[in-house]
Symmetry: D2
Subunit: 384 residues, 4 copies
């Protein structure tokens, strides 16, 4: 198959934030082209958005139902190969299921669905169809994060004992949802966001990052969730003590009321031999720590990096890559895997390294567990 | 009174760590002189240590009991004015009480005593005698920490909502107490250290720092304490969710098994208007954060600092002060207060800004509370 | 014109470094598509490269001469609109001139040409044709750099007095050109790189950054160039004292033998009221310094940034952008300008903010001046 | 000799900056006591200062001449052993020579004298008398700087090629000397400071640091000195290209008009195998860089440090030491050397590691050379 993969979109109109990110990430590597979309619940916005993306009007749809119905009638190679879903959480499941039922691969923003049950249904459909689903837990796309995972996996740090993961933001320190801010509005609305606020929006990222790097599953959670801004309907802050399957212990902090913080997701992991630290604000650096010798500043793009990190790096050392490249790594690995499937080839292990439906289910379980634990003053530990 | 204050010591022989720190801190400002001491439980070590500190043999004692008995017979101005106690925790109370009973002021290392009850007895004796006690919670001696407290106090950040305090160390990642290391040996021994390990040694510092800067009292604790190194008798790791009296929430992390970490005590506080961050490894910097404008790098020694920070600073901006100067601030403020008392003067507010018996009691309550909470899998919140 | 701009390439085969960067940068914003190219001096590599970029064979050319001849015969909207030239320095001029003569706009890597005279010829041709040329001085594409320039321009720092610009790399610490490394090979070869080595490759970037941010022209240079690695034919290190037109003074350091450095280009500028600091390794941060108040950490993506920075930013605060996005800003502004021209519209000021032929001429003058000054032990100052 | 060394002072009244620093540094280690002084040219200030240092009035002198005359009549063990001279530069030589003539060891602030000739006279007198002189080039007292020197010395980085040393300050960005600021006043006055301003005050520190760490002598200088603040009488800014005896090249930058900078002296050294970086604002960290593996964060207080660094460290890793401890290291090594001499013992190599008269002469040569080069627009290189 010597052509680019063909992407459709659900959501991502010109008034949206994350849709633009998905396009940047999908397109930069010259492996994917945008061919169609239903970019908004408002057909006029969908149309104007599609035009601004240089699409023919025939491929700009008023509803995603229409999109799937029409695209499926187009010949292979002309119709889209996969769909990217970038709507608010409550509107993930329906188009994702419809895509799978119509034979399209799926990229969907996190959290995967509105409820755990929906996620389980998607899993069943994926197993039934053999289609591929990518979930954009962006932070696991950074090469330094992949390097961290690889070094844990190969045992550099010994047995993992302690995990600190934190995700402080400050943008919801005031009741921004009352000011007409679209991002704040749906994220703080239980009808569109789900049962969790900060924990669903960013806590899931933190939890995914911790499990991704350590390779360990959380088994129990002790948590408190808080609503600091009066009148807000969902948690805007929370913290959890975590227990992992191997006996490791963790602390997870996620907040959107840490005034003055941007998006400072940070992970620290310690084993009995050493530890690591990664902070997204300086994403190309991985600090590797040792009890008996100096901390090392491991830097993306250098020759000493592991193969998996190199596979996910585009520039030489000292040419900083960022959030968009991490995002693009998910698209690139997804597209390599889809392409392999379409060519009846076996995907390489490094191509398969992107979050999928299992990660989505873990995320929904995390939301369920942390919400259950977070408002209960008597039950200390809730099983995952 | 135109002379230096005269200091005696209990503990602090030439084989000890913290005793040397106390001498450096006490002496650098030319306000205090060392005049006597019982520097070790071993009289030979006490003698050789005292000689190396250039003391006459007549003032080097074999027991602290002897020291108090003899010193009290010397004329005022020759005898010591106060005693510094730098023995392991179990041996704080007895010499401290004896000092107070004999009319000597006291400096004592933290935690103040072995049990809460002992601390309460000291408090009663202090109230009875009017003598002065300083507790060396060093980190509150840093000028940037005092600046932080001042800015919180005057309301720069609005109502405080969130506190993160962490104290990661890695030096007990292995069973160092089996190797003959004296520091590790007593700190992991319940008979000498008390009922807590890491939480007593460094958790108390973290807790003190949080309460000192925010001016808020902890009311409830949800915690887990862990022993990671097999065979160890006390916690070497722990984390706690904190509730504060004004409704603020906190997370406290203290560990001695974070392999590769040195002594990275760090505090973050967020109010509804902004926040602050301080890390001991760069102690002269206070990051001040705002929702709507850039983070400021507030630096010790500059003209814009508050009076309380300036009072605790010795050098101009860009001449880094460190741990010893923070320690010395406790001694300097203590000595100014003692001197005022001896001169029947009223101590200024900034002189009184050093930790005392009330801080010591808070610390013992913290240990009791966090130990009670930390091993109980069913009770979630324990009142302070 | 409702279509993407159509890009051809000269150079940039699958074995090249900077060509891949150009494609990533050009394509990510969904405003440009790659339609043709002569990707290598080796027709087989050109063909295989073009195929891997999903081009039809009819648009993959064996020589750039052939490309221009054939493309010009295609109808507007099918033929390329502009050409990107990413060959070694000695092979910039000929395809650039040929492009201009055939009516194509040009993007060319820096330094613009092999000699100053060639650059002047390009300028004359551009003035004659009205075509548009962009020069990829990447570092001026960073939003934080544009913020810096804007703040200098509007006088925040008062009169500029001092400029420090440095560009340390370490990758040529050994004679890498003997090992078959293609990058090292042509960059150290006077026949392909020109009369300067490090000063041409990275010194020009540093010089451009200094003039771009300050808005000041260098007038005199005092320099020393060095060849540290035995047998190397061009400078691998150098430093220069700079005099600027307003009386400001500067120091420029560029080296490729600073073992262990990656690509740490850094700029500091000081006026009589304050100063700024920017380092590419943390490119989303601009430190803004003041004599009488704390340094501010100005961060890309925040609401307080200037309009010009916002125009060049794709993600919200805390989602780090990197080298590729800075590069893409040059392409985006170039494409907006070209598109305006094709639509007979007036380009906005922020669209015109990309390096062009004048910057290229300054760069060639810098090379001439610093090489003249750099090996002369008797003449101290050389006029620019 | 079982007593503390006895220090007298010339200068260092309660209105002075550097005198207080000297006392803190001298006293903290409990090896030195202050016994006498002439603390000001104003006898009343000298008296009140001496009282505030708890000296008997009999040992507080109105002139340093009187001090030397009287002290010499006191018995050994009561009279001072050495004198610390902390007057402005023009008043270093006379008391230093008088001290040596009367048999007292000397500590003197830098630059050692007002002229090179005076420094040479001191050297001759020292050789004649065998007395010991320490010069407080503070930055060479930091343990991380000593670690740097040791690693260069033992060849870790191979042959040294490149040295960058910079010392940016901003406090003289305005004409502070007109505001009554005592520090600014004498430092910008050629009659009290000497022929150089910034270069004498801080350039000498930078130069000393570069030669100290590399072990290389500067042989030639190409420089420009500037006076940016109108009406100022001495340079407030300058930069120099340096040539070292082994063929290494350097850049030295010293400025006092970098608005917003505090005291950011920084050194970078690169050899053919690796390099190092040290910045005084984070003085306990030494970055060690390698071409082929990660940069290491070498931290003072850890077990892996060299013996010479450990000898100059008081606290364990993670307990930051600062400027005063670096300063105190000079006093401690000086006092160990003096004590050895008084005891007719051989001083250990690590005791002798403090700046002395030879360093002072190098500093005066540096001032002479850089001033000669700095205002000459025709002579490029001036021999050292």
């Amino acid at each position: 198959m010597n052509r680019k993969l063909r992407m459709g979109m659900v959501g991502g109109g010109s008034d949206a934030f994350i849709g633009a990110i998905h396009r940047l990430a999908a397109l930069m590597d010259n492996q994917i082209e945008l061919v169609c979309g239903c970019f908004s619940i408002d057909p006029a916005i969908s149309l104007s958005s599609g035009r601004s993306y240089y699409l023919p009007e025939s491929r700009i749809y008023a509803t995603y139902r229409e999109m799937f119905e029409k695209e499926i009638t187009l010949p292979e190679g002309e119709r889209m190969d996969f769909v990217t879903i970038v709507t608010p959480n409550f509107a993930h499941f329906d188009p994702a299921m419809m895509a799978l039922e119509n034979g399209f691969h799926v990229v969907v923003d996190k959290p995967i669905t509105f409820t755990l049950d929906e996620a389980l249904q998607l899993k069943a459909k994926i197993e039934e169809t053999g289609l591929i689903l990518a979930l954009t837990h962006t932070y696991s796309g950074y090469p330094a994060v992949k390097e961290a995972r690889e070094r844990v996996r190969r045992g550099d740090f010994g047995k993992i004992r302690k995990v600190y993961v934190e995700y402080p933001q400050g943008w919801l320190s005031t009741k921004l949802e009352d000011s007409g801010n679209a991002q704040a509005s749906w994220r703080t609305d239980p009808k569109r966001s789900g049962k969790a606020g900060a924990m669903g929006d960013i806590g899931t990222h933190a939890h995914h990052l911790a499990e991704y790097v350590t390779g360990l599953k959380t088994t129990e959670v002790c948590a408190e969730l808080n609503v600091f801004v009066p009148g807000r309907l969902l948690d805007d802050d929370g913290a959890a003590l975590l227990r992992f399957e191997n006996g490791a212990r963790g602390v997870l902090m996620a907040t959107q009321i840490a005034a003055g913080e941007e998006n400072a997701i940070k992970l620290r992991v310690y084993g009995d031999k050493g530890g690591l630290e990664w902070l997204q604000h300086e994403p190309n650096t991985l600090l590797v720590k040792w009890s008996d010798r100096p901390t090392e500043i491991v830097r993306v793009g250098n020759g000493y990096m592991s193969d998996i990190a190199k596979h996910n790096t585009r520039t030489p050392g000292g040419h900083p890559e960022g959030y968009l490249e991490a995002f693009a790594n998910i698209y690139r690995n997804f597209s390599l895997t889809v392409r392999a499937k379409m060519n009846n080839q076996t995907a390489k292990a490094e191509w398969l390294d992107f979050p999928g439906v299992e990660d989505g289910i873990r995320g929904m379980q995390f939301i369920d567990t942390v919400v259950k634990a977070g408002y209960d003053d008597t039950t200390k530990w809730v099983k995952f």
